[in-house]
Symmetry: C2
Subunit: 179 residues, 2 copies
């Protein structure tokens, strides 16, 4: 072996690159450069770009889960409004913006029928749902339904944010989960 980058190390570096520069527009040579290797070696390790993307997506899904866990302590919110508004504030925070951009790359590719993207997106939402459920106010009778509601609304708000309709997003949140 000369350098013997681990697949994990490669994925880590490529994930960092994808978070900075986008996922859909990522091509082998820039990814390789970011990971300190060559396109030649990426194909060698992952077989083809398709496999690389698949593994990169799973890595990113896991990475987001870790990042979410680290960002907000696993404690119960005081009430519904505080719960969702904390989450929204968190996602609008600098460190999470790259994840949001990559997230919509994934959604867009999933919409075009990319099965790997659908799967990765599904994994991400499941993880997000579980994470959110642990942070709901105490005593909620239907935590699944409430977590689904909040998560779905949060996703819609993210869409609105991306197209400059932050006001509409905020209004929706304040209306559905008022103080």
């Amino acid at each position: 072996m000369k350098k013997s980058h681990t697949k994990q190390e490669l994925l880590e570096a490529m994930a960092r690159h994808a978070l900075k520069h986008g996922l859909n527009s990522a091509s082998l040579r820039p990814l390789a450069k970011a990971a300190g290797t060559s396109d030649r070696m990426l194909i060698y390790h992952f077989g083809a770009k398709e496999g690389l993307i698949r593994e990169l997506l799973l890595f990113l899904a896991n990475d987001l889960a870790i990042r979410l866990d680290g960002a907000l302590p696993a404690r119960r919110a005081k009430n519904r409004h505080e719960c969702i508004s904390e989450i929204v504030a968190l996602l609008r925070t600098g460190p999470f913006l790259p994840y949001m951009r990559v997230w919509f790359d994934i959604v867009s590719s999933a919409a075009q029928g990319g099965r790997d993207h659908v799967q990765a997106g599904s994994v991400m939402m499941s993880g997000f749902h579980a994470w959110l459920k642990e942070r709901l106010p105490q005593g909620e009778e239907q935590p699944d339904a409430l977590a689904s509601s909040m998560l779905t609304l949060v996703e819609g708000m993210a869409v609105m944010d991306m197209v400059g309709q932050t006001d509409m997003a905020d209004l929706a949140m304040e209306t559905l989960f008022p103080k």
Copy 2:
């Protein structure tokens, strides 16, 4: 003049192509072929690809508005649940799937900082909001807030649909706007 395609005709044909094959991956030669002309002529008419995309986005925004108007009569829904579930059902309908795919192409590009995409997305959401407001149940005291809520939730549901989390989308809707 030999053929003298109108810009409008070109945009129409290219919009059809974008709805079929995606917007982010659209390149000049396929677009030109779909419009019965050449990449050479597209550049001639639009100056550069950037201008073409800009005009195509506005065309699509207008097209979506027209399509929405034509799809559901401008009548008031009986209640909130009927209102939103009709809209969701409509958007999940075959003819609207291409628009959803293109929509998330736009959101994804907007997330990457594409100003034209942000603007087009904003126009689309404003139009959608106005359209929805006319179809709210009668007697709602805060139509803007309610329309924003429903629209934002619908967008979140669309995201969930794209990544195969239709169940979560439905659960959210039934929870926030129960029968």
